[in-house]
Amino acid sequence: MTEIELPLWASVPATLLLIFGGLLTVIGSLGLLRLPDFYSRMHPPTMGTTLGAGCVLIASMIVSSALMHRPVVHELLITLFVVMTAPVTAMLLIRAAIHRGRLRNRK
Amino acid sequence: MEIVYALAIGVLTASGVWLLLRPRTFQVLMGLSLLSYATNIFIFGMGRLVMYRPPIIEEAGATDPSLYADPVPQALVLTAIVIGFATTALTLVVLLALRGLTGTDHVDGREPES
């Protein structure tokens, strides 16, 4: 890990963004703990995946652009994939929950 | 660090062996996977634990091996991972076929009498 001095204009916002994203994710996980039932527990982690992830990605964009002295936008792709795959996982989780609920009702 | 590493290998091996001795094909398969993890980490560890120094040469010319991690075990393990995957897939399919043919998922192809 070679130490490279990060310019101030990049480091400050990056730090803030990282802190903010981390905070959001923590809150999301906390919600996963606190909320009562499965369906409502589905919601808070989404914070981590949306805004939290977004903040982290933007931060990483800023940092790497600053390091490479040219705009780095790979992270946009990551965002794209997250946006496209998150609904699928969410839906399938919900389906599982519904299925389980049906089974419980049968018994 | 070394202690943790060794313990990790030990735990992986133990659970892998335990599963390997179970009567159900699925368990044996899982045991194989765990054992392959253990083996890979073990071989990898034979290059000693080196942090933050991947064997990627920054500047050509003067290259001192002590500046980098040992690439040889890494290469070996890389091969091992792929081969392990192949064998796992093979075992999985074989056990499915066995379960289809013999109607049981016991490794002996038939339920024990007792």
Binding site: L24, L30, M42, T46, M47, T50, P87, A90, I98 | -
Partner: protein, 167 residues
């Protein structure tokens, strides 16, 4: 919705893939552009065999607008959910529940976009789509009055999406 057998290259997909290729390689070299284009054509042809129906999005300015709307909503609902989680809503109890929304939109891509939006905004989760595609079920974390939610979904998201995909 066209028949599955005919294969016409979806232009959007080709362009998108080319752009993505350039993005990945971080270049604008003509050779790379050509390569990316060839790749994109081949891939989208392969994809069109796998996926017969193709989106034909129109008036994209609406889409741009929609993106910003959605971003704002994401930030907002994040804050809202955060407050709920941290228990900052003392004055009333949080009632979560399912919400049925009658849908006018039928285009699968529009629906997909809607699903993405709904999942991206915390507080709402896509639960189910009735087999005939007429009713959408959501689960809402903070379900105060259902009518407001339904209006929100239909006004803010469904209409622009219909303008994009179904006009």
């Amino acid at each position: 919705m066209r028949a599955p057998t005919t294969r016409r290259l979806p232009p959007m997909l080709v362009l998108g893939l080319t752009g993505m290729w350039l993005l990945l390689n971080q270049t604008l070299a003509p050779g790379q552009i050509l390569l990316g284009f060839v790749l994109a054509v081949g891939l989208s042809w392969a994809a069109s065999t796998l996926r017969p129906l193709q989106p034909r999005p129109r008036n994209l300015h609406v889409a741009v607008g929609l993106v910003f709307v959605v971003l704002r909503d994401i930030v907002r609902s994040n804050i809202a959910v955060a407050r709920i989680v941290l228990g900052l809503v003392r004055d009333r109890d949080v009632r979560s529940g399912f919400l049925e929304i009658p849908l006018d939109m039928r285009d699968p891509h529009g629906l997909a976009a809607l699903a993405a939006i709904v999942t991206a905004t915390p507080g709402t989760v896509w639960v189910d789509l009735s087999p005939d595609g007429s009713r959408l079920t959501l689960h809402v974390l903070d379900l105060q009055d259902e009518a407001a939610w339904i209006r929100l979904i239909k006004e803010r998201y469904e209409r622009p999406l219909m303008r994009i995909f179904e006009s």
